[in-house]
Symmetry: C2
Subunit: 364 residues, 2 copies
């Protein structure tokens, strides 16, 4: 991918459009909030700084879904859809970080941490941590409303009853369901049958990540451009296995990744008790003693570096890492084969191929 | 208000329509969730039980705003708008109860409490309280999305750019801003100037409650029926002071109400550290020693019955209760006078009068 490739330059224009549109949307909202009270400004500040970063993966999937279905390159509707997706993602991250007790996000403090720091530096009374969580719940709610406001701004193409609106609705409901399954498995996994753990983990991945990050954004872009049911089905055949592979790569990095590259402390997924496909394979393939040890360590916030090292070893030794890597390889192959079969012009095909490549081969 | 009055029977038909529509909306969503996993059902269960109860105050304000602006009695659009408002209110309550650490709601466990109880009775691992909060954050998010989905189902009348859509957007943003001001005052109030506390409390009331519960729902109904800017301004003149009086009545009941009638333990607002108008008057009118005592007690979760009694006494003795009651009386008078000036037919006028009466004179 050279700097001046047609895909890169078209993507850059779109991303710039989304960034500009987000910035004017949020400064308008900042004005509305200023009429309430200057005290409310930190909520908009937190949202702004969150939507400034990120890979814009969902917006890009949506864009190429649109272009692949014949949508024109410079159209305000697809930019607005990109904004709605980015705002939704920001809202999800804000609440996720409370749920996962993550204090950092994209190299800075997470939103609840920003507010608890504001509490501390301001010398306010009562509990700074509770204030941080409460303020972040409200900021996430505000951002979720903004996302919807942006989505409805698309107008006719996203009106009630339209395929795009239907996809947007299902996307929201399914990702929340998937996140619930994720936190449920953390607590219920230890008392559920171990043999089912890989399947349960795959179901979590599908709803919390693959559909939300890949399948629905791509379909949304397609639907906004009037894609046929056949094209949308073809999109799913590509994006669903891709999204599963993407999330499984993330899960492998969560245990085996280099903290210097991923930006997350090694083993944090284990401390949170995430029961991923990798963990599921390990629970089933390790010796009884090792599986019991792993089960005991999952969700232990005090997990030390040596425990993480021991867990890595057992995951390698019992073949769980290999099994996960083969599954990622298989899903990637399925995705790329499905991509080949899509009736797309060169540019969209190339762009989706690049996004797919980046999704499954990344190191961070 | 007799059982068979025209207002009562028309309201009953509308409420029945909203209840029926909520029930079919949620059973459709339950179907969508079932395709994800049966494990997700408790999220819908929690939302269903929450929207089953309640006074439907916002839906009724919306209805009479619609009727007053000439909307016909039997119209599916106003029923859908009522559903959207009820779902929004349910979402707000779910997150509010996490923020306020309230374990009960409408006589039953609050949503986060339901989930932590589910955790305990299921014998799941790790922290039941954290699981409860996390699950309730997600349930609230889902419910917020449902609210929007219902609102967009109204179609053309609520399409992007319409006055109704604008009101709905502003309503959401303002109530979240108001809730933030509320939690901010709990922690920042103790270190801010005491003289400004009544004004800050009134600003919180305006955004968190008066606009959200009264002004916006009434305006929304009006806007959906095509109300003129003049009528909407008239609606505001009535509903804004009414909403302020309504919330101040609530705050008085939070300290002086009978737990048997309110359903909430006496003094819970004090334990949460709510800095209401009543508290603001007390901080300014009590002796220095008593004000310092009150300041120290606010937000103290271990506040005992004798402390609550002492605070009640000081609020009476320093005239804070009287000052609050006069303000409620003044705002009520303003509201009723504005109501008289509204160009409404007999039925809408009568209905709004009854709603207003119930709002300011209630004991629970």
């Amino acid at each position: 991918m050279t700097f001046t490739s047609p895909v890169a330059s078209e993507q850059a224009r779109f991303i710039e459009g989304v960034a500009g549109s987000l910035s004017s949307f949020l400064s308008e909202q900042r004005g509305v909030m200023a009429t309430v009270s200057p005290d409310v400004d930190p909520l908009i500040g937190a949202i702004s700084s969150l939507v400034t970063g990120g890979k814009r993966l969902r917006a890009l999937m949506c864009y190429w879904g649109w272009r692949g279905a014949g949508g024109p390159a410079e159209d305000p509707d697809i930019v607005t859809a990109g904004c709605a997706l980015e705002l939704f993602q920001a809202a999800a991250l804000i609440h996720d970080d409370i749920i996962d007790r993550s204090d950092t996000r994209r190299g800075g403090p997470s939103v609840h941490k920003r507010f608890s720091q504001l509490h501390e530096t301001s010398g306010w009374a009562l509990d700074s941590e509770h204030f941080g969580d409460a303020a972040a719940i409200l900021t996430g709610d505000l951002c979720l409303s903004f996302s919807e406001e942006a989505f409805s701004d698309i107008g006719t193409r996203a009106a009630s009853g339209s395929p795009a609106r239907r996809i947007f609705n299902v996307m929201r409901a399914e990702v929340m369901a998937g996140q619930y399954l994720d936190i449920l498995e953390e607590v219920a996994g230890p008392v559920r049958d171990r043999a089912g753990s890989v399947n349960r983990a795959r179901s979590i991945i599908r709803y919390k990540s693959a559909k939300y990050s890949m399948e629905h954004p791509l379909a949304l872009g397609g639907a906004l451009a009037g894609a046929s049911a056949e094209l949308l089905a073809g999109y799913s055949g590509f994006s669903l296995p891709l999204g599963e592979a993407f999330q499984m790569r993330d899960d492998v990095l969560g245990v085996f990744g280099d903290p210097a590259t991923t930006g997350k402390p090694a083993g944090d997924d284990l401390r949170e008790g995430k029961r991923t496909v990798l963990v599921g394979f390990a629970l089933n393939q390790a010796s009884a003693a090792e599986a019991a040890y792993l089960d005991r360590m999952l969700g232990n916030p005090g997990l030390a570096g040596e425990d993480v090292a021991r867990i890595r070893h057992l995951m390698v030794d019992c073949g769980a890492l290999d099994a996960t890597e083969s599954l990622i390889a298989q899903l990637s192959t399925d995705a790329f084969e499905a991509l080949e079969r899509l009736p797309l012009d060169g540019l969209a095909l190339q762009a989706l191929g690049q996004l797919a490549e980046a999704a499954v081969s990344r190191a961070a």
